[in-house]
Subunit: 235 residues, 2 copies
């Protein structure tokens, strides 16, 4: 991890934390932290700064922390993703948090297998865990908002037009469309389909709601790869 | 898979193939192909076209094929990657093949764990298998060239300067460097470090060989994500 994330419960006083579990293990085994070492730390949904190891052993670590920096700005983006298969979902949640996406909407689509909605990886605790890993990777503290939309039509008809309003609305889709724009400056609403792509009805509905189809060339990328490629190109 | 890749051994006549194993299973279980169905096919390192199912059952599939299209152009790129951990290596090989990288050099670095070089995933058969999965995903037939460079210094001093010559030489590295350029047109040599980054000595050597450090912003991406992001931005 490139940033040690602190939860409210870790604080034993205003500037001191005690850590156990996964983060303690990481400090011991990967950082091989010893007394006096200084680390980058951040408070979940709060500021970032430095932490100094006061005491560390195999039961707990005690750090003195000073949080005086703002986390990096988020991308001006709402990302809509057809729910990916559970294993890929976990990596995408990490990537999305690491890259600075502030809001992720997981949407149903004709080509999303019904069983994907049953995965325990969609539980709030499970998504939070993956998002935290991504924030630790990307050095950010602010958890993205995750919105679950299990019905395509009411989302596309009733809520999407408002979301898209005054943003550049795009839907990534292979086909004879314009190339995805580069280095945009304003806010973007971007939708990315499932493996196999959106069906024509869905593309039509997304277009009606203000998203224009754009493509990334003739090569078809896996969804997690397409997410990264589109964000890197847009921002 | 978005393209059914055919090996020389699959051909029973000039325009007919018989398939078994993984691809047969995929045809049966994912495509649910039946007699008369037409699929995109390509010959490994050859042309692409259409295949029509003549016969399919749970023992084999017989297709009549017509190969009349060239595969998509590759990126004008030599990609140098500090050897990633085995699990990530597999995904990176797939991504690299899907995105059209023609040449991948896997290089040692101070922060590459020695054990990574022992992985069976580096064996030619194993890398070929992952590259084929990537080509099937990205709809390409031409296997990227994989070069193994297990010693950093002789590679950086003796072979890299020639490789970099008359290309835009870049090394992705977090720090106070220029932002990675966008939408370049000429050939590029791009080096991407291990988790934890190149050490200063390595950056110095890469610079001497003609690679200039560029960064992608203050967020630190996992290597596989950085590869995709840098390629999407550059091309």
């Amino acid at each position: 991890m490139n940033l040690l994330l602190l939860e409210t419960d870790d604080f034993v006083s205003v500037d001191e934390v005690v850590l156990q579990g996964r983060r303690l293990q990481h400090l011991n085994e990967v950082h091989r932290a010893t007394q006096g070492d200084t680390l980058r730390v951040g408070q979940v949904n709060g500021r970032m700064g430095k932490g100094q190891v006061i005491e560390i052993n195999d039961r707990h670590a005690r750090l003195s922390v000073s949080l005086d920096q703002l986390p990096p700005p988020k991308l001006p983006l709402a990302l809509i993703l057809a729910l990916p298969r559970p294993k890929m979902l976990r990596r995408i949640l990490q990537n999305v948090a690491a890259m600075g996406v502030p809001r992720l909407i997981l949407l149903n689509s004709y080509r999303v297998e019904k069983s994907f909605w049953q995965t325990p990886f969609l539980e709030p605790d499970a998504t939070r865990e993956q998002l935290l890993l991504g924030l630790e990777q990307g050095r950010d503290t602010v958890l993205p908002e995750i919105i679950i939309e299990q019905r395509f039509k009411p989302f596309a008809e009733d809520r999407l037009p408002e979301l898209t309003c005054e943003t550049l609305g795009l839907v990534g889709h292979p086909g004879p469309y314009a190339a995805c724009p580069r280095a945009v400056t304003g806010p973007v609403t971007l939708a990315i389909g499932p493996e196999g792509g959106w069906i024509p009805y869905e593309i039509e509905k997304l277009q009606e709601a203000g998203l224009q189809p754009v493509q990334l060339g003739e090569r078809i990328l896996r969804v997690e790869n397409a997410v990264t490629a589109l964000l890197a190109r847009l921002f």
